[in-house]
Amino acid sequence: MGVLDSSFDILCRNGEVKQLVSLLGQPEESIPQCIFISGHKSSGKSYTIHKVLDGLKVHYASVNCVEGYLPRLIFESILSQIKGEILPPTSKCDDVMEFLTSLKVMADEMNLHDKVVVIVLEGSEKLRDMSPNLLPALMQLQELSCLKKVCVVLVSDVLWDKYIPPGGLPPPIQIFFQQYSQSDILKILALDKPKDYPADFYSNYLQLFVAVFLRSCRDITELRYKAAENFSKYCEPILRGEIDMNDSGRLWKHISPHLKTSLQLIYMRFETEKLSSDMDLMKPMDKHSTLSSAAKFALSFELPYYAKYLIIAAFLASYNSPKEDKKLFVKLSGRTKKKVQKSTKNTQTKISSLVVGPRQFDLERLLAIFYSIIEEKPHISVNLLTQITSLVELQLLLKVGNDPLETPKYKCAVGFDFIVIIAKTLSFNVTKYLVDYK
């Protein structure tokens, strides 16, 4: 074994690296057909495999399977990476058969028969949704192509047990990437240390940082982003000469509120320069605000007047059964009495439809409810109808089915909290029209 593990320079993945090297690093011995690598997102799978393959200096190709919306793109990408240049436009590779042929031709040309060739397929769970023979074929590429040293590495976030398609497949060699521990994370984050700061200063900072963040997030990518973002804040008072570099107590006091707000915005990926001036970003920060996120969403933009009534009508249509419509919307004829009876019965027998989720309704019903809850009666104009389309575009309404001839059917995509806010701006009492609202 010619290559030392340490030369790969990969932190905290010694076991996995050793395993990979023993499988792929010995060209004289036989090479496995297929290796399956799984593990959480951002647990360094891609990072490790690429580093190892680079270090082993084998021919390899790496493709992300999102590109497989056309299988041909995967094949062409593999071929051109092995060849090291872009393929001439004349070469076509539409299915597995053509791929195998081209691969063989290429192996002959480049004399690859006894060199290790590795094909890394990232996000390989996508392969299952493509043509049914693709995945089995790739897993047995060695046999099918008669290239004895070719190996396919499937990388996925999904475990093999969950990954395996219904028909079943012979299990490949599996390597599982454990989640990093706290000390692993500290070591990896320390790699990003900016040049102009001493190592222990930075590791002090990381201790503070990880203490706040680790409970909510172990995603290395996100942690790296957040660490870099907050480090500049951490250093600000030092640059301004207000706090001494070694005064870690005061530095902690300074940074801890920033870290907390930053934790609220995790995964949101806003650039934070003008955070304070930005109302929309301020909202998630005040922890004590009792509003739900849906309510905040409703507050953050203004809808035209009729659009508001339309969305309320859609909500009522979604959460009341059509049977109740007459009782609710035909003007108050002995309604109140019946409603009381009904609702007392409901609490015992049925689950509230607010819990069950929206039911679909058609355009006519939407308009009928709209006209019964709105005081002015605007006539059905193009402008009114396009509002419905606009609401669908904004994802506040969902269109169900897409038969162009049937009357369209919709579902309301916003919840009670949202509607309550909208209704408040109109001083409209929604609960009056909700059967299941006690």
Binding site: V66, T221, R269, P378, S381, T386, V392, E393
Partner: protein
Amino acid sequence: MDSTVSVSKGCFAFKRKRKGKIPSSVHLSGNLWYQSYKKCMGSSEELLEVLEKKIFTEIFEGLLEYVKKCSSNPETSHTEIPAATLLTGVNMPDHTSLFATLSKSIQQQATPHVATLWARDCSSLKATVERMCSQFMLVPTSDDANDSQDCDNSSNEESDDEKQTKSKINRWHCNLQYLSSWYSTIAAKGNKKRKTNKLSEKFGGKAQSLVVIIPDFESFPAKVLQEFILLLKGYQYRVPFLLVLGVATAVSAVHRSLPHHVSSCLRMKVFHSRPSLAYLNEVLEKVFFLPDQPFHLGGKAFKLLLDVFLFHDFSVMGFVQGYKFCMMQHFHGKDWTVLTCSPEELPSAVKLLSKQDIESVRKLPSVRKHIETLCSKADQISWLKDDTFVKGEIVKLLTNIHKYVHSFFATLKCLNILTCDLPGAPLEKQLRSVYIIASTCDIVKSSELKECMTLLSFLSSDELESKLSEILVILHESLKNGATQMMDVIEKLEGLVAKFKTLWAPVPTTPTKNSQSPSRSPLKAVRSPLKSPSKLLMNVNSRSQLREKLKEMSTHDIKLSPFEKLRTEVLSFLLEEMFTPFLASPQTKPLHELVFFDNIAAVKSHIVGSPRQAMLRGLRDPHFYLDCDCCKLSDLGDILPTLPDVSIVYKLHLESGKLINMFDWLQSFLTIVDPSSVEEEQTEVDPKLQARFTRAVAELQFLGFIKSSNRKTDHVTRLTWC
């Protein structure tokens, strides 16, 4: 009905006969009215363009800076895709032009590589990628995705570089692999004959970001978007992408459609665009409420457009289109509208009027009223008989109207300043709403204004003084613009304002009980805790309560301080010498039809289209659309055999109840279409007629008037009741 040459039956559009194939502008330019229309439209379009440019640059400023920054050093963004998130507001119709302008400005100022992906074109990942790549690689031409679709793979595949640059890129190549190799050649060589490179030289010849604009983020299928971003992320280290996301609602919409592992591919920066209501206000102020425009929207027409805006779509573009349509309607086909011009052009315009035009002017309702109110019989006769006299009068009246318009708008603004922040805003907050009131009814006599005046009589001196000085600024400005009648008012008002200064100089020696200290505010001396009506009325909940309180307050103090006297003086001056003379509604002015367009009956159906009504009208009265002699109805209830079948069937179905018996329906149809057959008591129905009937019923079902019923055989359910 006219006959067609087509063998198949169906719906045919009959175009009205055209006289020739002259382009419409040439065709129209001979007309008198067209000239003045063009001038008028031209001047407002110019104003709009200037304004639009200004507003767009404001919105885009920060965004463009950001794009430039990312684009000039793409190396910094290897780990994440920079994503500028532009919050656009829910005025959907305006977005197209917004993003077209954005794309153009990015191309001019930051990077030549821009692709715009509308959700409607991107139902799948494949379509999205193809659309993006084809836009990038064919930089010079735009909108060629359709072309690239018909040239399919492999046919003319010679990868001759020259040829490729000229002709369309093959769809085969619209993928990211090819794009990245294309990008590396672009980045490497700076001396090809492509337009892009000419541009990139301008930007320093460096590699530029590829900007992908997604204008309607919410309507993008979430799954496509996620995969698309993951895909771009995979190529980010070779090709520096930059996303511009147009989000109509709020930033959280981004996180609703992107899960963590996707959103962590991005680095977002949020930019806000101006709320469209603010934009509209600016448009109104800078384009519509300008007194020197010869054309204005009257109160009713203005309200119509404003209602569409506020209630339906928040679309400034829609508002502007409506305005333009009104303008077209105003001028179209009426030569006497040459009179809608600036006052300087009036004398020459009036010379162009023909005898007929004068006659039309005479027939205008406002002119008729004017003639009736004239006291001298001789004048009345000359109005009716003497054309040259009429011409002279027209010039006089219109010059007056123009003067009136100047003072009207100035006074309206002053009134708005006075009343906009009164508690409860009895006279509306916005100038636009005040305009609607003032131009539809007599605002001076309205109860709202009276209420305002009462409230104003509780203003503190500071508030009143600052309002008056604001008013003076407006008046001076209007004077500069030619509202000469304002001279007088300004002088008097300045005199009154000066009195405020003298008010404080000597300590008022009024023997009020609580004025022990030489207070700077005499108001405080009399009614110390009360400074402004807003404070005073803080805990007033209802109108009636308010009125009572006001009454109480007005009877309370009999003794008036000098300030209070002055205040009363100022307010009555404003009411009597400004509002009363200058705020008369435009409708009271003779010839107002020439300056204020208020004919909403003519434009309503165009601005607020209503498909159902149009359909009903077509069924009830086919003549309206077909314009043929055979369908003329004296009474809309009539059913002629010559009507289109579907119309006959529709009219028959109106007579039935909830369920319609098909056989009866057919019989009545036959009675109308072919009376002879029914009389003869034939049992066999002519299959041709039966086919026509079936088809008409099917059409009615398609239109949504009936549906088949399971309850009774041979019956259909009727769905509409009108």
